[in-house]
Symmetry: C2
Subunit: 391 residues, 2 copies
């Protein structure tokens, strides 16, 4: 004990607390009517992929308290670090709203700060936009519901930002597909609080040339695999990507070399060169069709598919999707990047992306979300689920 | 001590030697009249680049014994792990014969073995061809000389197989250029015991494209640096290398991509791509001319020279070189690979490659040299230096 500890003015160094410190759940619960504040408190619980347990625990406990409150009861299921909570009101339609709990690694941006940016108040933190603002939207709306016109399933899941094989939503789809049954799925990924329908598919292929190794002082003894790749790069450079209209939305495709490698040593004619090509294809095409297109483009070369995720049609032709569009009150746009909406599409559930935040700030060191946009997204979602309460 | 050690039939485990074990130098000296055997014993002293001291010590001591023998006295100088020994007979001409002591890493091929290959007896070992057979040729000839018609400088050096900045010959040229003065230099690198004149120069350049990074789902937001490299590969693929006649020898050039790299991640349009190009240019061209040629070929692209070694003209027009050609009795050929002859050329000393061994086996796991070729090379070199003794 230091001398100062017994100083009459400072009191004992480790005074016994007069009340229990608030838990993560207490802190989240206290912010349930303030969407931006809840976003900040969610960001302050770090949850980099693989380390979601603490946040999943808090969310599970919070859903229990919401269930015990004035709104409808929730059936709560835990699967790994995914948490599923659903109403069982016997409504004609069920809406599923999903969001991932994990973030990419922190870059000195946790805990969160409040800042003013171009005259707007923002929450500045890792995950603010991708996608703890979306999770806040889920929790605020879950707590606000009293008598929704549609049944609701809330899904919070782990491992979205890493290898697709670890994805918590994929795991739940395998373990308990019944939990994901719905007439419409809304994925709370950042979409500027507008509706982005479906998503392009994505395929990666390796296009490979082979040659014959030789000393580069006698290059005529070998066959240069890098030179042999020249026509492949010419095809890529000349290619003009299509724009395909699907269910009324224009999906712009992309075809890009994303990596190239070749070379043995500074004095060796290389016998192998590989260019990795990423094709983002419209959701009207299957993976098999995308592959056939690439094999035709690179005819005569060795083409190996290294990665494939099918796209998802926007599904905006269904009445429930139309009702969602009306409630949000904004023109839907196509989603070009691949998202987990495709997992719902594969289960036969039409799915859209809808969440607060500008996706351009996802994974960036300057990640942030506008406070007003989080509140607006909560109001829109509530308007869809319980029009009476939002008027 | 184990029980067996006192067994009457086996005798003491560590019997004191009745005579001193032969040293490295003793073993080499005992083989001085048997070129293939000396090659094998040189291979049995490992000397991977950086680890030449043991072999350099043995060679230095052996040269001392040769100097003390019936032939001419030698002035012996040690510089790091290079050893220089020279006669001072006041002859009108001086010939320098140089060879490196180091090898590339061993691949289970030390100690050496004797094998029969296509009816020929060979020494099979790391360094057999590149170039302990050449070192054996130097030592056998040094020991055989009695009254050479030309003064001789023997140079044994370190670090040939690694970064040029470490090269022992380069170090001696900087420290003691007087030791390298000569009218003709013979570099004992494997040349099938034929004369290979001069060498092509070598230049490496990086040709770089830059672009703008973007998510590959929205490739139209970026500029793909790999696609931008397509015209560079097209130039390389279409290029036909020249053959240039220099001092009567035909030097075939080579232009090769030896490496290519680009790519940030599987979902990112890359903003940089670099192809490394190696140009082997005829010795009639300077490095500056070679560079100008590449800048013209890749006009409009960023070109950075990363490596340059000037070539060496064959120098076969000089009378002493002609005399060497006559002594060897074979038509000289051009050397396409770069060798240390260029260092002599830079010092104003005409230089040729002449040594036993097929260069195609250099650095290979099946490296070997034909025993008969080592003997023949020794006879040829002796014929040049002391025609009387070789008749």
């Amino acid at each position: 004990m230091s001398a100062d500890a017994s100083h009459p003015d400072t009191g004992p160094a480790g005074a016994a607390p007069t009340e229990t410190a608030p838990t993560d759940t207490d802190l989240l619960e206290a912010a349930l009517t303030r969407p931006a504040e809840l976003t900040a408190r969610l960001c302050d619980i770090p949850s980099v992929s693989g380390d979601e347990a603490r946040l999943a625990d808090a969310v599970e406990e919070l859903l229990g308290r919401i269930s015990a409150g004035p709104g409808p009861d929730l059936e709560i299921v835990r699967d790994g670090d995914a948490v599923i909570a659903r109403t069982r009101l016997g409504r004609a339609e069920r809406v599923l709203v999903a969001g991932h709990l994990d973030t990419v690694p922190i870059e000195g941006n946790v805990p969160s700060t409040r800042r003013e940016l171009d005259g707007e108040e923002v929450v500045w933190a890792r995950g603010a936009c991708d996608m703890k603002a979306g999770v806040a939207m889920q929790l605020v709306t879950a707590a606000a519901l009293r008598a929704p016109v549609r049944d609701v399933t809330w899904v919070f899941y782990d491992h979205e930002e890493v290898d697709a094989a670890l994805n918590g939503l994929g795991r739940v789809a395998a373990n308990r597909p019944d939990l994901l049954e719905a007439d419409l799925a809304v994925l709370g990924e950042p979409s500027d609080a507008g509706i982005q329908g479906g998503c392009n598919g994505t395929m990666r292929v390796d296009v490979r040339t082979t040659g014959v190794r030789a000393h580069s002082a006698r290059a005529f003894m070998g066959v240069n695999a890098i030179h042999a790749l020249a026509p492949v790069l010419a095809v890529l450079a000349a290619h003009e990507a299509e724009t395909v209209t699907v269910d009324g939305l224009d999906y712009r495709e992309s075809l890009s070399a994303v990596g190239i490698r070749g070379g043995v040593a500074g004095n060796v004619v290389p016998d192998e060169c590989v260019v990795s090509v990423n094709y983002r294809f419209a959701p009207s095409k299957s993976g098999a069709e995308a592959e056939a297109h690439l094999r035709e483009l690179f005819a005569g070369y060795e083409v190996e598919v290294t990665d494939l995720s099918e796209g998802a049609r926007p599904g905006l032709d269904r009445p429930i999707a139309q009702a969602f569009v009306e409630a949000i009150g904004a023109e839907p746009a196509p989603k070009l990047g691949w998202t987990d909406v495709a997992r719902f599409s594969a289960l036969g559930v039409p799915a859209v992306n809808f969440g607060p935040g500008n996706p351009l700030y996802a994974h960036k060191a300057d990640e942030h979300v506008a406070c007003a946009e989080v509140s607006a997204a909560c109001r829109s979602l509530l308007a869809f689920l319980e029009p009476e309460r939002s008027r």
